[in-house]
């Protein structure tokens, strides 16, 4: 293998994550949240709430491969560890803020019916019942959108 082909292979490997599909972070259309930073999104999914909202918020999870990708992208840990994190809270007497949904339709319905929550969807499942928010000032349609 020549150096050029080796570098090409490495660059292709590094490029794979950038080609991953974006995961759209969504809120209720009436929510005051317009955008979040990556840190604010991470804090929200750790149970520390959203900026400028004093209410406890519900964290809507969508089961499947998208959940694994979301956890790695936003929290930097595997879904197994996220599950342990929340089980610990549940059995230690702290609040369980998760709402586990099995289908994108369930996520859309829950988010559209509850103002104090945040969720995520694959791009093709986005519709007008929920509102996508920008992360780090970047909309999900932008190649630089960080949640993938």
């Amino acid at each position: 293998m020549t150096i050029r082909s080796f570098l090409l292979a490495v660059s292709l490997l590094l490029a794979v994550p950038a080609l991953a599909d974006p995961i759209v972070v969504v809120v209720n259309p009436a929510s005051p949240i317009q955008e979040l930073t990556s840190k604010e999104l991470k804090a929200a999914y750790e149970g520390y709430g959203l900026p400028d909202i004093s209410e406890e918020i519900t964290l809507v999870y969508l089961r499947g491969d998208i959940e694994d990708a979301f956890n790695l992208s936003v929290l930097g840990i595997s879904s197994k560890k996220v599950k342990v994190y929340w089980l610990r809270r549940v059995f230690e007497g702290e609040s369980d803020l998760r709402r586990i949904c099995k289908t994108p339709a369930e996520v859309r319905r829950f988010v559209s019916e509850n103002a104090d929550c945040i969720g995520f969807l694959p791009v093709p499942e986005l519709d007008e019942s929920v509102r996508a928010i920008s992360i780090d000032g970047t909309p999900h349609s932008d190649p630089g959108y960080p949640v993938k």
Partner: protein, 441 residues
């Protein structure tokens, strides 16, 4: 309407209301009642020494059943409770009790107060010690989370104030300060027995005696504590510490035999003419004052991908004063209980099915006597002064909601182990094997 019909007339709407409030898998209102629970069954077998149960012959007295409820009861107010039944040898015996019950009012987004029966902050893992899903090992590292301390330190009744500030650059902090009292379920549990024995063994007056303490009353006047946890900007790294102070009062008596001729030698006291020893002695009830000067833990955990590394240190200093009237001689005897323990643990998840772990820990019931010289001087064996533990653990996640675990411990020493469970005496080197299956919802 008959009495039975009345009962159903009252129960049916309540059950219906509960059923409608419980989420059954699909989306529901954000403020419904959350219900979680678990059941587990384990088996323990040891060589040479009994560990918490009759483990030399193998014991199934190792189980938990838990159910908890929580709901958002109003703006910024959350309430919850958990019922627990456990069996661990002579302790628990599957009696259902209140494990925790709290009200949690958020004053601001990351500032709130809690009240009720709350879980104690001891190390990073005490609050979840009954929940197998939260860790790889079957037993939490015994050098910091000795099973006999569970009934003592597991939870407190009182109030706490907490905050979770996010400090720019530094990262997230969790802080909690609390004040309350510890419920003493069984004053004659292994914890109190073993520690009172530690105290009485050190009393020069009683050296050479064979006395069993029986605690008739144990009251915790107060406990106060604080917890600090720092989630460093490095993903997966957290460092923390806990400090508990408090005061305990109790009464007890000693029963057994005392060779008074040896004990009184050089004390200035004299035996009645012709008396060389007092056998079958039962002391008058005596009082104990225990000042918890400090129960301190320091913790570090690093989690990266499928790897988890943890290390914790336990350090205690209890001042114990015993006012005892033995054979007509009133004496006030101050002594100290100074534990020290630490462990290092690493776990790694190889696949969705398999996770393995290894733990090394040391525990000293008296850190001023790590080599056991004082214990030998008191008539014991040196290896009662320490417990060194190497454990290998294997966790198998059999499905989304259930798992099995296997674990082997190699032990050197028997520090703080129950003499009552080992009336034949102790052996220094021994092994402990555990298996457990747990399921949760």
């Amino acid at each position: 309407m008959t009495r039975r019909r009345w009962r159903w007339a009252l129960l049916t709407p309540a059950l219906l209301a509960l059923a409608l409030a419980i989420p059954l898998g699909g989306p529901a209102a954000a403020s419904d009642i959350r219900i979680h629970g678990l059941v587990s069954q384990g088996y323990m077998r040891s060589t040479d020494n009994n560990f918490l149960a009759d483990t030399e012959n193998g014991s199934f007295e190792f189980s938990e059943a838990i159910i908890n409820f929580s709901t958002k009861a109003g703006d910024n107010l959350r309430v919850g409770m958990q019922l627990l039944a456990r069996d661990m040898g002579a302790e628990g015996n599957n009696t259902v009790g209140l494990d925790w019950a709290y009200g949690d009012y958020r004053l601001r987004k990351n500032l709130g107060i809690r009240f009720g029966k709350l879980k104690s902050h001891i190390g990073m893992y005490n609050k979840g010690r009954d929940v197998d899903m939260l860790r790889t090992p079957v037993l939490l590292p015994q050098s910091v989370y000795d099973e006999t301390t569970r009934d003592f330190a597991h939870s407190y009744n009182g109030f706490s104030i907490y905050a979770n500030p996010l400090v720019p650059v530094a990262g997230r902090f969790n802080l909690e300060a609390y004040l309350g009292t510890l419920p003493v379920r069984d004053p004659n549990s292994s914890f109190w027995q073993s520690n009172l024995r530690l105290v009485t063994n050190r009393l020069a007056f009683l050296q050479g005696a064979n006395l069993t303490p029986t605690i008739t009353e144990m009251t915790v006047r107060y406990v106060a504590g604080g917890m600090l946890m720092w989630h460093a900007p490095v993903t997966g790294l957290r460092l923390g510490g806990n400090l508990i102070k408090g005061q305990i009062e109790g009464t007890a008596f000693l029963e057994g035999t005392v060779p008074l001729s040896e004990a009184l030698a050089g004390s200035g006291l004299e035996l009645p003419p012709g008396a060389s020893s007092v056998k079958g002695l039962r002391s008058q009830p005596f009082s104990m004052d225990v000042d918890i000067e400090q129960l301190l833990t320091a913790s570090a955990e690093y989690s990266w991908r499928d790897l988890l590394l943890a290390a914790e240190l336990l350090y205690t200093h209890f001042d114990v004063t015993v006012d005892i009237d033995l054979a007509g001689v009133p004496i006030q005897l101050p002594t100290e209980v100074k534990w020290q323990g630490y462990y290092l643990m690493g776990t790694y998840r190889f696949s969705d099915l398999l996770e393995v772990g290894a733990t090394y820990g040391q525990f000293y019931p008296n850190r001023d006597d790590k080599d056991g010289r004082d214990v030998v001087a008191q008539g014991g064996q040196a290896f009662e002064a320490w417990r060194e533990n190497i454990a290998l653990s294997c966790r198998l996640d059999l499905g989304e909601n259930w798992l099995a675990k296997l674990e082997a411990h190699r032990m050197d020493g028997v520090g703080l182990m129950s003499a009552q469970l080992n009336p034949q005496g102790f052996d220094r080197n021994w092994y402990l094997f555990l298996a457990k299956v747990s399921a949760h919802f």
